[in-house]
C-alpha cells in the first residue's frame, strides 16, 4: 500500500527528502542552543561583557540558522505534502477516467468521491506530519538520551526506565480507544445523516406535524453519541495524567537521587548545573515520546484512508482498448451472436442470455420490456461500455473488441437513461459531442432534437448557464439537450435509452420524424416505455427477463398477441375512451 502511494510523490521527492534533513538541522540547532546558553551563564560573572557578547553573537547566528532551517523545512514540507496530495488526486482522477462501467459500478460513485476528497486530505495531513516529525521526534529522543547519559549514565537510567512504561501505557490507551472511536464515528455519521434526512424531508415532517417526534428522535440519537464520545474521551483522558505522572516521577527521582549523589560525593561526581540540565533533558525525552505516540495514532487513522486510495490505484480496468485497434467503422450494422452477459463474474444470474439479433445499417429498432428485462444491458454492449460474457457483438461486421475504443464510441452514440448535464453554458454542454462544432452545427442538431425552440426562449439563448446536474431545466428539456449533444457526434449508430420519457408525445413524434428525414443512414435504437415511441420502428425487440421474447414489426407483434400486444392495449385504452 505504501509502495503504491509512494509512486505519487514523483517531482516532490526533493522537498519530501529535504524536509526531514532540514528538520534534522533545526533539531540539532535546537539542542545546541541550550548548550551555548548554559556556557554563557557559566561564564557570566558580572565583571565583563565579553562572554555575553561572544556567546550572544554565537546564539544569534545559531538562531538565524535555526530560523532559516525552520523556514525552509516548513516550506519544503508544505510543498511536499500538498504536491503529494495533488499527484495523488491526479493519479486517482486519471485512473478513474480509465475505468470501465463495470469498474465504476464495483466502487460506486459516492465511494469514489470520498476516496478522492476526504481520504486524500487525511493522507496529505499524515504525510506532512510524517516528513516533519519522522526525524524530529526520534532525533530529539536520541539526542536527549545521549546528552543525559553524557551527563550521568546512572541518572539517565531513570528516564530509560520510565520511557517504556509511558510507551506501553499510551499504546494500551490507543488500543482500547481506537475500536470505540471507529464505532462512534459510524454513529456520528448516522446522526449527521439524520439531520440531512430531516432537512431534505422537512416538507414531509411539517405536513405530518412530526416536528416534536423528529426532535425527540434526534435528541435520543445525539444523547447516544454524547454518551459514547464521553466514554471514549474519558479513556483518552488518561493520556494526560499518565504523561504528567511519568514526568513528575522522573523529576522527583532525579531531584531526590541527584541531590543525594551530589551531597554524598561532595559534588565530585555530579554537579548542580548538571542536575538542572538533566531535568531539562528529561522533559524533552518524555515530550518526544508523546509526539511519537500521537504520530502513531495519526498514521493508523490515515492508513485506512491510504488503503482505500491504494485500492483504486491498484484496480486494473477490465476493459481496455486493443493495441492497434481498427479505427474505421464501415457501417452501422449490428449483430448479436449468441450473446450472454452478467454484470459480475460471481453473479449466478445472467442479465442477458443467448441473444441473437441482426440489425441492418440505417434501420430504426425499438426495444421494449418491463423493468429488469435488461434493455439497458443490451444496448450498453454495443459501444463496449461492458464486455460480453459469452458470444460476441459485431458492429459493421467486426467484433467490437477489435476496434479502437475511442473510435468505436465516437461512432456509437448513447443517450443514457441516467443522463447528466454539466455546469456550464448550453453551448459548452453540447460541444461535448464535438468540441469543434460551429454555432450553426449546434443549432442544426438542436432543431433535430426539438430543443432549439425552448433554448431560444431563454434570455441568454445558447449561452444560458446550466447549473450543476442540470437542475435549472425541466426533465423534458434536459432529455432533448442530451439527445442534441449525442447527435453532434454524427454517429453511425444512435442509441436512445428511455430518453424521451419526459418529452410530450407530439415532440417525441417530431424528434423521430426528424431522425427519419435528416439522418436516414444512422442506425437508431430506441428504448422506450411509451409504445408510441417505438410503434413505427422497422423492427421491435421485446425483452423479458434477459431473453428476447418477441421480435417483429408493430403489425406482426400485434397480430402475435403476446407481451407487446398486451402492453400496447393497456396504454392506449384510456386514450381511446377519451377521444
Amino acid at each position: 500500500m505504501i509502495k503504491t502511494l509512494a509512486k505519487s510523490v514523483r517531482e516532490y521527492k526533493k522537498p519530501a527528502i529535504l524536509s526531514p534533513i532540514l528538520v534534522s538541522c533545526e533539531v540539532i540547532l535546537e539542542c545546541l542552543l541550550p548548550f551555548v546558553m548554559a556556557s554563557m551563564i557559566d561564564e557570566m560573572d558580572g565583571t565583563s561583557m565579553r562572554p555575553i557578547i561572544k556567546y550572544g553573537i554565537i546564539l544569534i547566528v545559531l538562531a538565524m540558522l535555526s530560523l532559516y532551517f525552520g523556514y525552509a523545512a516548513a516550506s519544503a514540507a508544505a510543498t511536499a505534502a500538498t504536491g503529494f496530495a495533488e499527484n495523488l488526486r491526479k493519479d486517482l482522477f486519471y485512473k478513474v477516467q480509465d475505468y470501465g462501467f463495470a469498474d465504476i459500478d464495483s466502487f460506486s460513485t459516492s465511494s469514489l468521491v470520498t476516496r478522492l476528497t476526504t481520504d486524500v486530505a487525511n493522507v496529505q495531513n499524515a504525510f506532512q506530519m510524517i516528513i516533519r516529525g519522522v526525524v524530529r521526534a526520534p532525533l530529539m529522543l536520541v539526542f536527549s538520551i545521549v546528552m543525559s547519559m553524557m551527563i550521568n549514565v546512572k541518572m539517565s537510567f531513570i528516564f530509560i526506565a520510565i520511557m517504556p512504561v509511558l510507551g506501553i501505557a499510551l499504546f494500551m490507551i490507543f488500543k482500547v480507544v481506537y475500536p470505540i472511536f471507529k464505532r462512534i464515528f459510524k454513529k456520528y455519521d448516522a446522526l449527521n445523516n439524520s439531520v440531512q434526512e430531516n432537512v431534505a424531508g422537512i416538507r414531509v415532517v411539517k405536513s405530518f406535524v412530526r416536528e416534536r417526534y423528529e426532535a425527540q428522535k434526534f435528541n435520543a440519537a445525539s444523547e447516544d453519541v454524547r454518551a459514547e464520545f464521553t466514554r471514549a474521551e474519558k479513556i483518552i483522558a488518561f493520556n494526560n495524567p499518565i504523561m504528567v505522572l511519568c514526568m513528575y516521577t522522573a523529576m522527583f527521582l532525579v531531584s531526590f537521587l541527584g541531590a543525594k549523589l551530589i551531597i554524598n560525593t561532595r559534588g565530585s561526581e555530579f554537579t548542580t548545573g548538571e542536575l538542572s540540565s538533566l531535568t531539562a533533558y528529561g522533559v524533552q525525552i518524555l515530550m518526544a515520546m508523546m509526539v511519537f505516540s500521537m504520530m502513531f495514532v495519526m498514521c493508523s487513522i490515515a492508513s485506512e484512508a491510504a488503503n482505500r486510495i491504494a485500492e483504486v490505484l491498484c484496480h486494473e480496468s477490465t476493459l481496455t482498448s486493443p493495441e492497434n485497434g481498427v479505427t474505421e467503422v464501415p457501417d452501422g450494422s449490428i449483430t448479436f451472436d449468441h450473446v450472454s452477459f452478467k454484470y459480475s463474474e460471481r453473479s449466478k444470474k445472467y442479465a442477458l442470455a443467448d441473444i441473437n439479433v441482426e440489425i441492418k445499417s440505417g434501420e430504426t429498432i425499438g426495444i421494449v420490456g418491463g423493468t429488469g428485462s435488461s434493455k439497458s444491458s443490451l444496448i450498453q454492449l454495443i459501444p463496449r461500455l461492458y464486455d460480453v460474457s459469452e458470444g460476441r457483438v459485431l458492429v459493421g461486421g467486426r467484433d467490437v473488441r477489435e476496434y479502437d475504443l475511442v473510435k468505436l464510441r465516437d461512432e456509437v452514440a448513447v443517450v443514457l437513461q441516467k443522463n447528466v448535464l454539466f455546469a456550464g453554458t448550453i453551448k459548452e454542454n453540447l460541444r461535448w459531442g464535438d468540441p469543434n462544432a460551429s454555432d450553426e452545427e449546434l443549432e442544426r442538431v438542436c432543431k433535430l432534437a426539438q430543443a432549439d425552440e425552448f433554448i431560444r426562449q431563454f434570455p441568454d439563448g445558447y449561452d444560458t448557464r446550466i447549473e450543476q446536474g442540470g437542475t435549472n431545466v425541466s426533465g423534458g428539456q434536459k432529455q432533448r439537450l442530451t439527445i442534441a449533444r449525442a447527435l453532434l457526434k454524427k454517429p453511425k449508430i444512435l442509441i436512445l435509452d428511455d430518453s424521451t420519457s419526459a418529452v410530450d408525445t407530439r415532440t417525441d413524434a417530431l424528434i423521430r420524424k426528424a431522425f427519419a428525414e435528416e439522418i436516414p443512414d444512422t442506425t437508431k435504437l430506441i428504448i422506450a416505455q411509451r409504445m408510441s415511441s417505438v410503434e413505427h420502428a422497422d423492427k421491435i425487440i421485446v425483452l423479458d427477463g434477459g431473453k428476447i421474447a418477441e421480435v417483429g414489426t408493430h403489425e406482426e407483434l400485434m397480430a402475435a398477441g403476446g407481451i407487446y400486444r398486451e402492453t400496447y392495449d393497456s396504454q392506449t385504452r384510456g386514450r381511446e375512451v377519451a377521444s
Binding site: M37, M40, M44, G46, M49, I53, G56, L59, L67, Y71, A78, T79, T82, G83, E86, F93, Y94, Q97, F101, I104, S110, V113, T117, Q128, F185, N192, V195, Q196, G201, I202, V204, K206, S207, R210, E214, A215, F218, E233, V244, L245, Y248, F252, S255, A259, T272, S276, G370, L385, V406, V414, L416, Q468, S474, G475, K489, A502, D504, Q529, T567, G574
Partner: protein, 649 residues
C-alpha cells in the same frame, strides 16, 4: 443533494461555512453562558484543575532551584552539615504538589470531556429543536449543504474550542501572568525588556495569523472548486465515457488541481512557519536580555524590583533568562491556538445564528378535536378516538366555544402571492372545493401549481381571510391542527432511515401494524413489500435507496393513507417508471383519493380527466377552468396539452 453529504462523516479539511470567518460580537460571552448554564460547577472544577496543573508545572522548576540553594550548596560550597529535615520537607512538598498536579490533570481532562460532549449535545439539540420550528421559507432560502455544514463542521470547531483551545489558552495566560509577576519581583528593567519582545511577538503572530487565515480561505475555496468538479465528473462518469471526454476532463481537472496546490502550499507553509519564527524570536530575546543584563551589571544600574532597590546581580539575570525561555515556549504554544479560537468562535456564531432564527409564526387558536355527534346534529367534544373530527373555535369576544364539523371544504378567494415582494407568483387565484371533490392543477413548470399547495397547508402565510377551511379563516387555525387535517404526497419522495413499517407509521404514530398493512394494501404497496427480504421489517436507508422510484412512491402513498386526512394534496411524480408500476401507483392514488377533497398537481392525463374541476395555470394565473369535457370543448390550452401538443410538467 450531493452524494458526498450522504456518505461522509466529519471531514478533516473543511471549507469555511457560508459566513466565512465572520464572528458575531458577544459570541464568546454567549458561548460561556451556554456552557456555564449547565456545567457551571464542573467548569469551575476544571478551571481549578487548570490552575493547579499550571502551578504545579511552574513551581516544580522552582523546587529544584530551592533544593540547590538551601540544601546542596551549603553542603558542597560551605561544608555545612546536611540539612536532612529541610531536604525531606522539600521532597515531601514536591510529592504533594506533584501528586496534586497529577490528580488535577486527571480530573481536568475527564471532566472536560463530560463538559465538552454535554455542551455539544445541548448545542446540537437546541439547533435541531429550533430547526424543527422554522418556516419552510428558511429551508427554501438556505442551501441544504450549508445547514448541514453547521451541524458537522461548525459544531466540530466548537468542540475544538471548548475542549482544547480555551483550556490551553487559560493555562498559558496563567503561566505568563505568574511569570510576569515573578519577573517584576526580580527586576523591573529586565521586565520592560521582556515586554518589548512580547509586543514584537504579538505583532508577528497577528501578521502571520492574518496571512495564514487569508491563504487558508483561498485554499478552502480552491478545494471546494476542485472537489466540486471531481464530484460532478465522477457522478457523470458514464456520460464522460460515452463521449470519450476523458482527456478533456483531465485537462480541466489539472488546472483546478494545480490551483489548489498553489493555494494549499502557501496555506500550509504559513501554518508551519509561525512556530520556528516565534521560537527563534525567543532565542533572540534571550540574547538581548543577556546583553541588557550584562550592561545593567557593568554600569551598576540600580535594580528596581519588589524586593527593593539593589544593584543588578548575576543571579537575577540568570534566573531571568531561565524564565524568559519558558515564557517564549508558552507564547509559542498558545499562538497555535489563535487560529483555532478564531475558527471556533466563527463556528459558534453560525450555530447561534441558527438558534436565533425566527420560528414559524402561529397565531392560530382553532384546534382539531375528536367529537361525537347527537342525532339532532349537536356536537360534543370527546377525549376518545371517535373517528369524527371537528374544529373547536373559541370566541374571545363572548367566551363561547363553537364546534364545526371537519368536512374538507376549501375556498381560496382572490389570492395573490409572491415569495419575494417584488415578484408575484400567483395572481388573483380563486377556487372552491366542496368536500369530496377533486381539483386538478395543470400547467408548465413555474406556472405556480406547487405554490398553491404551499399556501393551503400554510408553508407560506398570506393575509387573513383569503383561504377558508370549512368556513374558517385558516390563519385562525393552529398550524399543527391544520396540517393534521391535510395529507400530502409529494413529488420528491422522502423516506426516513428505519423499517418500511416505521415509514408507513410516520403518517400516524399510534397506528397498529394491522392499520399500517391495511394502508399499504390500499396504496397497492403490500404486494411488493411482502416480497422484500424482510417484508415490512426491511430496513430502509439513504432515502430508500434499495427501492425503485415507483416502490418509494407506493410507500409514500401508504404513509399518507394511514394518516387518513379529509383533504389530500397529491403532487404526482414526473419521473419515468415502467408501465406496470405506474399502473399500480395510479391505482394506489385512486384508492387514496376516494371520499376525500383532493388537490392534485397532475402530470398524467388519466388523473386529470376524472377531476371535478381542472385549473389550467399559466404564469400564476388561472387561464382556464372547468371539467374535462368543458375544457376539451373550449379547444384552448388544455385541449392542446391533452392532445400532446404541449408538455405536461
Amino acid at each position: 443533494m450531493s452524494a458526498r453529504m450522504m456518505s461522509r462523516g466529519p471531514r478533516t479539511m473543511r471549507a469555511p461555512g457560508p459566513g466565512g470567518m465572520g464572528i458575531k460580537k458577544g459570541t464568546f460571552k454567549r458561548l460561556l453562558k451556554f456552557v456555564t448554564g449547565k456545567y457551571g460547577g464542573r467548569l469551575a472544577v476544571v478551571m481549578l484543575c487548570v490552575v493547579i496543573s499550571a502551578l504545579a508545572g511552574m513551581v516544580s522548576t522552582m523546587f529544584l532551584q530551592q533544593l540547590i540553594d538551601d540544601v546542596i550548596m551549603p553542603v558542597v560550597d560551605k561544608g555545612e552539615p546536611f540539612a536532612k529535615d529541610t531536604f525531606n520537607g522539600l521532597l515531601g512538598a514536591m510529592v504533594v504538589l506533584y501528586g496534586m498536579g497529577v490528580v488535577a490533570a486527571f480530573f481536568q481532562t475527564r471532566i472536560l470531556a463530560v463538559v465538552t460532549q454535554g455542551t455539544l449535545k445541548a448545542l446540537r439539540d437546541d439547533m435541531f429543536d429550533k430547526m424543527q420550528t422554522l418556516p419552510i421559507r428558511y429551508f427554501d432560502t438556505h442551501a441544504h449543504g450549508d445547514i448541514m455544514s453547521t451541524y458537522t463542521n461548525d459544531v466540530d470547531t466548537v468542540r475544538q474550542l471548548i475542549g482544547q483551545s480555551i483550556p490551553t489558552l487559560i493555562q498559558s495566560i496563567l503561566t505568563v501572568g505568574t511569570m510576569f509577576f515573578m519577573m517584576i519581583f526580580y527586576s523591573l528593567w529586565m521586565t520592560l525588556g521582556v515586554i518589548v519582545f512580547l509586543v514584537i511577538m504579538s505583532v508577528v503572530i497577528k501578521k502571520f495569523a492574518g496571512a495564514s487565515a487569508k491563504y487558508m480561505m483561498a485554499q478552502q475555496r480552491a478545494l471546494a472548486t476542485c472537489e466540486g468538479y471531481m464530484e460532478e465528473i465522477l457522478e457523470g462518469q458514464k456520460v464522460v465515457k460515452v463521449f470519450n471526454h476523458e482527456e478533456l476532463s483531465k485537462e480541466r481537472f489539472d488546472e483546478l488541481n494545480e490551483e489548489l496546490f498553489n493555494h494549499g502550499r502557501l496555506a500550509n507553509k504559513y501554518g508551519n512557519i509561525l512556530m520556528p519564527i516565534l521560537h527563534n524570536l525567543g532565542n533572540i530575546m534571550y540574547v538581548a536580555l543577556a546583553v541588557l543584563g550584562g550592561l545593567l551589571i557593568t554600569f551598576h544600574v540600580p535594580n528596581i524590583g519588589l524586593r527593593g532597590v539593589k544593584p543588578v546581580e548575576v543571579g537575577v539575570v540568570i534566573t531571568f533568562l531561565g524564565m524568559c525561555r519558558h515564557l517564549a515556549q508558552t507564547v509559542g504554544q498558545s499562538s497555535m491556538q489563535v487560529n483555532m479560537i478564531a475558527m471556533g468562535l466563527a463556528g459558534a456564531s453560525r450555530c447561534f445564528e441558527l438558534i436565533d432564527q425566527e420560528p414559524e409564526q402561529d397565531a392560530g387558536y382553532v384546534t382539531l378535536v375528536n367529537v361525537t355527534k347527537d342525532v339532532d346534529g349537536t356536537i360534543h367534544e370527546s377525549d376518545k378516538l371517535t373517528g369524527l373530527w371537528a374544529w373547536k373555535h373559541p370566541h374571545t369576544a363572548d367566551g363561547t366555544i363553537t364546534y364545526t364539523e371537519l368536512k374538507g371544504d376549501c375556498v381560496l378567494e382572490h389570492v395573490d402571492f409572491g415569495y419575494t415582494e417584488d415578484k408575484m407568483v400567483l395572481h388573483d387565484i380563486s377556487l372552491f372545493a366542496k368536500p369530496g371533490e377533486k381539483i386538478a392543477f395543470v400547467g408548465a413548470t413555474g406556472a405556480g401549481k406547487t405554490t398553491i399547495t404551499n399556501l393551503i397547508n400554510r408553508f407560506y402565510d398570506i393575509p387573513d381571510g383569503k383561504i377558508r377551511y370549512d368556513g374558517i379563516n385558516i390563519n385562525k387555525i393552529k398550524k399543527p391542527d391544520l396540517r393534521k387535517a391535510l395529507g400530502v404526497v409529494l413529488q420528491d419522495v422522502n423516506l426516513f432511515t428505519g423499517t418500511v413499517m416505521d415509514n408507513i407509521r410516520y403518517g400516524r404514530l399510534d397506528a397498529t401494524d394491522e392499520e399500517c398493512i391495511q394502508a399499504a394494501k390500499l396504496a397497492n404497496a403490500d404486494d411488493f413489500i411482502t416480497r422484500l427480504p424482510d417484508g415490512y421489517d426491511t430496513m430502509l436507508t439513504g432515502n430508500g435507496a434499495s427501492l425503485s422510484q415507483g416502490q418509494r412512491q407506493l410507500i409514500s402513498i401508504a404513509r399518507a393513507a394511514v394518516a387518513n386526512p379529509p383533504i389530500m394534496i397529491l403532487d404526482e411524480a414526473t419521473s419515468s417508471i415502467d408501465t406496470r408500476t405506474e399502473a399500480m401507483v395510479q391505482e394506489g392514488m385512486d384508492n387514496l383519493m376516494k371520499g376525500r377533497t383532493v388537490f392534485v398537481i397532475a402530470h398524467r392525463l388519466s388523473t386529470v380527466r376524472n377531476s371535478d374541476a381542472i385549473m389550467v395555470l399559466d404564469h400564476g394565473k388561472i387561464i382556464e377552468r372547468g371539467n374535462h369535457d368543458d375544457l376539451i370543448a373550449q379547444k384552448g390550452t388544455y385541449y392542446k396539452l391533452y392532445t400532446g401538443a404541449f408538455e405536461l410538467d
